[in-house]
């Protein structure tokens, strides 16, 4: 069958002089692709654990395409945010997640939407994986009323069901995450909370207070340290006496995971989730990852690290490229399929950016809304004694 097709396509090519073969090739049926492959993944370093996550991960074609789609969307969305920021359409804080996509995609692949997640300010990727559309994210970045928080939160304060942001104060989200886990165990709903923080935040005292209480009360909390090697501009060796972040939980078991491999992240998170749901208490995971951009849009990101380093990670460990190469090498999908996905994502992001640029800002009479919940409307003082504003719940 295949040879017949290629003979015909070659003949057609010679006749028309155009490369018809390309389109013919795309018409291959799904049965031509490998439906599932088991990959070897890197072993995780363990702390206070007898066994770790499995060393082999199964990936189906559908899962692979889905992870690719998720990571590529986050990548393109962050690059578009970069562009909009440089055009001054986005202002204020903007902390980009490109390079770290495997973390968000891998974690979400291992938990349910009914589980809970809370992270710090580098939150756009998780906002997407937790179910908010690119359109609403970009519109929130540009501060328009179509944004997920109606333009009132901005980059660091986006929320969704069972997603608690987006938190601006470094490390403050960690006790809050443990509190969400407390609510899960109090309500007995078998849910857990994934609480993320960075290598910089890992030195915050409140995190150790939280570790203590989470271990004491066996809270179903997965503490994940996204170690991208730099806290703002301070390399981990200059900030931490011990850079083994997975061991910093001391009495809490820990895993160190390759955060650039989406399968590694997924398997480790699955392992951690089982640990929590079995009632064994909290667990710490360190994801070794990398961010291509600087700390935020006001940081070029090259004064404390070399361009060569960034280039090396991009060429050797890019999470999206790694997944794509794996799938192509094992005939799980075709290059054209990936291209189509890319085109579709590019279109989605472009439309979202258009919306984010053209949508109006929230109206001024909504400035004081949402101060209190379930309250009758109240009067708020404006900037001078004669200006009175209204606040609706």
């Amino acid at each position: 069958m295949k040879t017949m097709l290629s003979i015909i396509s070659n003949a057609l090519c010679r006749m028309t002089g155009r490369n018809v073969a390309a389109r013919v090739v795309v018409a291959r049926s799904f049965t031509d692709f490998t439906p599932q492959v088991t990959f070897d993944i890197k072993k995780c370093d363990l702390h206070r654990l007898e066994e770790g996550p499995p060393l082999r991960a199964e990936l189906t074609r559908e899962q692979g395409l889905q992870y690719y789609h998720t990571m590529q969307t986050v990548r393109r969305m962050e690059l578009k945010a970069d562009q909009l920021y440089k055009q001054k359409i986005i202002r204020g804080f903007c902390h980009l997640y490109d390079g770290q996509e495997a973390c968000a995609a891998g974690i979400e692949a291992a938990i349910n939407l009914s589980d809970h997640l809370i992270t710090a300010y580098r939150a756009h990727g998780f906002t997407y994986t937790r179910g908010v559309s690119v359109k609403e994210i970009l519109a929130e970045l540009t501060g328009r009323k179509g944004g997920v928080a109606k333009g009132k939160g901005g980059s660091m304060h986006m929320y969704a069901p069972h997603f608690y942001g987006g938190n601006g104060i470094v490390g403050a989200q960690v006790p809050v995450g443990a509190g969400i886990a407390l609510a899960c165990s109090y309500q007995g709903n078998n849910q857990l909370c994934v609480t993320l923080y960075g290598d910089g935040a890992a030195n915050q005292g409140q995190i150790f207070e939280t570790f203590n209480m989470a271990a004491l009360w066996k809270l179903p909390c997965i503490f994940i340290c996204e170690n991208n090697k730099y806290g703002m501009g301070t390399a981990v060796e200059r900030a931490a006496a011990s850079t083994d972040y997975y061991k910093r939980g001391d009495f809490i078991p820990g895993l160190r995971v390759d955060g650039m491999d989406v399968l590694c992240v997924r398997e480790a998170t699955r392992f951690a989730a089982e640990h929590c749901r079995a009632g064994k208490g909290p667990i710490v995971m360190e994801l070794q990852t990398y961010r291509y951009h600087g700390h935020s849009m006001s940081d070029p990101g090259v004064s404390y690290r070399t361009r060569e380093e960034i280039q090396e990670v991009r060429s050797k460990s890019d999470p999206i490229s790694m997944l794509k190469e794996r799938m192509l090498a094992n005939n799980m999908a075709s290059a054209e399929e990936f291209k189509e996905i890319d085109i579709a994502i590019r279109k989605e992001v472009e439309e979202a950016a258009q919306f984010a640029t053209l949508d109006p800002e929230p109206p001024l009479d909504e400035l004081c809304d949402h101060i209190f919940h379930n309250e009758p409307p109240l009067e708020v003082r404006g900037t001078n004694p004669w200006s009175k504003l209204k606040s609706v719940s």
């Binding site: 403050a172 509190g179 969400i180 209480m213 919940h373």
Partner: protein, 394 residues
């Protein structure tokens, strides 16, 4: 002394007898009341708080209490006595000494659907956790444009105690009341404590509930209505404790008692004070204060916080900016500005002296009397003020 003893025996549950501090506030002397009316229920502020929490824990399964020593110790000041025995480890949680950690945990629990009561052993320790109260609790509903409410109560003793020195004596009413998104409540008597704590727990917003350690042992009469399980006092309304026509005294927490005492003394001289118990610091009931000032034309604010940038300063600013200046039926609008300044306001921060370790004493009667007289005659006091007063007004 005899009446103290009698009421102690009658109430049956109050273990702490603070000699010389027990007061029964009502319209007449306690001994006379006990003979005339039958039976009066005297409840200490501590018991009122305890009952309120007990009833709310029973009413709603999502309510729970966490803090240092709240469970097995029965509460550092015994406010949560008996609750752990009744409700167990799940709902009354002893925490390690980690304010920032457990305040954050309480906020997270509130975000995920529970209704925590987070106790700070005193509000001085809440400074360790103030980031969680302000940035994680108060601001979240606004930043999420209404998606994420945080129904939490932060409670504990605030302000002065007896001789505990500067680090343990600060009043945080002004600090917390500065922040939108937060409600700040400061009860005085048992009825306030009970009704406001119930309202705070039932409120879907973060509430900072400022108690006072010296008030815990003080007993007050409570009406039958205020004993009902659904008795709540609305947050945001002040109460006029005593009607008067010559001068308005505005206060909150313990100092409402001081104002009523002073009013009783001044009444003998023919000066009728109107005493307003703020009950809520934020949102503040400015209308009640303005209505009173329009009647009396004189205002004194009394609080346990430092004068600069405080609750009293805010009240003065609002009264100066507000309608009472221009709409008063009598001569407030006719008096030249300097007179309003001289006549206007005086913050009394007596607790500052205790913080420095000087022996506590109640306001000398002489200074209250003279102060009121000079305010009313709109002149400066002719005698030098006692060093105590001078030092506290900076």
């Amino acid at each position: 002394m005899a009446s103290s003893l009698r009421s102690f025996l009658r109430s049956g549950k109050n273990v702490f007898l603070v000699l010389g501090r027990r007061r029964f506030h009502g319209s007449g002397s306690a001994a006379v009341q006990q003979e005339k009316l039958f039976p009066l229920l005297h409840v200490t502020v501590r018991d009122a708080l305890n009952q309120a929490m007990d009833e709310e824990l029973e009413r709603d399964e999502r309510v729970f209490l966490m803090g240092e020593e709240v469970a097995q110790y029965d509460g550092a000041y015994k406010v949560s006595r008996g609750l752990w025995k009744k409700y167990g480890d799940k709902r009354i949680i002893d925490t390690p000494i980690s304010e920032m950690g457990f305040a954050g945990i309480a906020v997270g629990a509130a975000m995920a659907g529970l209704r925590p009561i987070c106790e700070f052993m005193t509000f001085n320790f809440s400074m360790q956790a103030i980031d969680q109260v302000i940035n994680s609790a108060a601001k979240t509903y606004y930043m999420s444009a209404g998606q994420q409410p945080v129904p939490i109560v932060f409670r504990g003793p605030n302000g002065a105690s007896a001789g505990v020195a500067a680090q343990h004596s600060q009043c945080f009413a002004a600090w917390y009341a500065h922040c939108p998104g937060l409600k700040v409540v400061s009860p005085w008597n048992s009825e306030d404590a009970r009704g406001l704590l119930k309202s705070a727990i039932r409120d879907d917003n973060p509430v900072v509930f400022l108690e006072n350690e010296l008030m815990y042992g003080v007993s007050f009469e409570m009406t039958e209505e205020s004993q009902s399980k659904d008795f709540t006092i609305p947050i945001g309304k002040a109460k006029v404790e005593r009607q008067g026509s010559h001068v308005t005294l505005v206060s909150h927490s313990r100092y409402v008692g001081h104002c009523l005492d002073a009013a009783a003394v001044l009444a003998k001289e023919g000066i009728e004070c109107e005493v307003i118990n703020l009950r809520t610091i934020r949102p503040m009931d400015v209308e009640s204060i303005e209505a009173s000032v329009m009647k009396t034309n004189h205002l004194v604010t009394v609080e346990g916080g430092w004068p600069q940038f405080g609750v009293g300063a805010e009240i003065c600013a609002r009264v100066m900016e507000g309608d009472s200046r221009t709409n008063s039926p009598t001569h407030l609008k006719e008096t030249p500005p300097c007179k309003s300044r001289a006549a206007g306001v005086w913050n009394k921060s007596g607790m500052f002296s205790t913080s420095k370790g000087w022996p506590f004493r109640a306001f000398p009667q002489k200074s209250w009397l003279s102060l009121a007289f000079h305010i009313l005659s709109q002149s400066a006091p002719p005698f030098p003020l006692e060093p105590l007063e001078l030092l506290t007004t900076h």
